[in-house]
């Protein structure tokens, strides 16, 4: 886990990691949230609607933004204030995602950073974009 302090982070600082979304992750997410929508559960249902397989929950993809802040940027001292998210592509079970975050702004008064985050699938297509405001405690 990284432990960046406010003063050690500069605008432009970038961190990234990769993660593969598994069938087991899908099942656990469904169990935790109770989101039993068939688009995320039933492959035939998803294919009938034009998808090649069942679709990974957008919020499961977005949950890796928590990891980005809490483990990588800034890491240990992170306190997420807000996350504005857009889902710009489809993620399927088995996809390996690259989660990237870049510091675009710092605020000295509140010791917080603004991060532009992008999540790419294995074909380097953007599947999720976000702006995060993170306090550094």
């Amino acid at each position: 886990m990284n432990s960046y302090t406010y003063d050690s982070i500069e605008v432009g600082h970038k961190e990234s990691f990769t993660v593969t979304v598994t069938e087991a992750d899908m099942d656990r997410f469904r169990e935790i949230t109770g989101d039993i929508n068939p688009l995320h559960k039933d492959s035939d249902y998803a294919r009938e609607r034009g998808y090649r397989d069942r679709v990974v929950f957008g919020m499961l993809t977005a949950s890796y933004l928590s990891t980005l802040a809490g483990v990588y940027l800034p890491g240990e001292h992170s306190l997420i204030h807000s996350v504005n998210t857009k889902f710009s592509g489809t993620v399927y079970p088995g996809d390996t995602l690259t989660v990237e975050g870049t510091v675009t702004e710092k605020n000295d008064t509140f010791k917080l950073i603004i991060i532009k985050a992008v999540i790419y699938n294995g074909n380097r297509e953007k599947v999720c974009k976000a702006q995060m405001q993170i306090g550094i405690i």
Partner: protein
């Protein structure tokens, strides 16, 4: 910059942050008067003001503010100080 001009700009910031084009603030407006004015929106307000007026605030000063009037006074004092007035 006159206090009236600062107040107009601050009102615009409030309208933008709270997404309410009809919002009218006065010196006595405080967080009890605007339902969505919570700690996170307070941060948004202060950051927007720092950007609009090109100022840096001190967190201790910010924490003492009790209403919009005090906010505007703080901005005016800092702008006057910056201009050597």
């Amino acid at each position: 910059m006159t206090r009236e001009v600062i107040m107009e700009k601050v009102n615009e910031i409030f309208r933008d942050v709270f997404d309410d084009d009809e919002l009218v603030i006065t010196d006595s407006t405080n967080s009890d008067d605007i339902e969505d004015w919570d700690s996170l929106e307070h941060i948004s307000l202060i950051i927007s003001m720092e950007k609009e007026f090109g100022l840096k605030f001190d967190i201790k000063e910010v924490n003492k503010l009790e209403n919009v009037g005090q906010m505007v006074d703080m901005i005016k004092d800092k702008l006057d100080e910056k201009q050597g007035l």
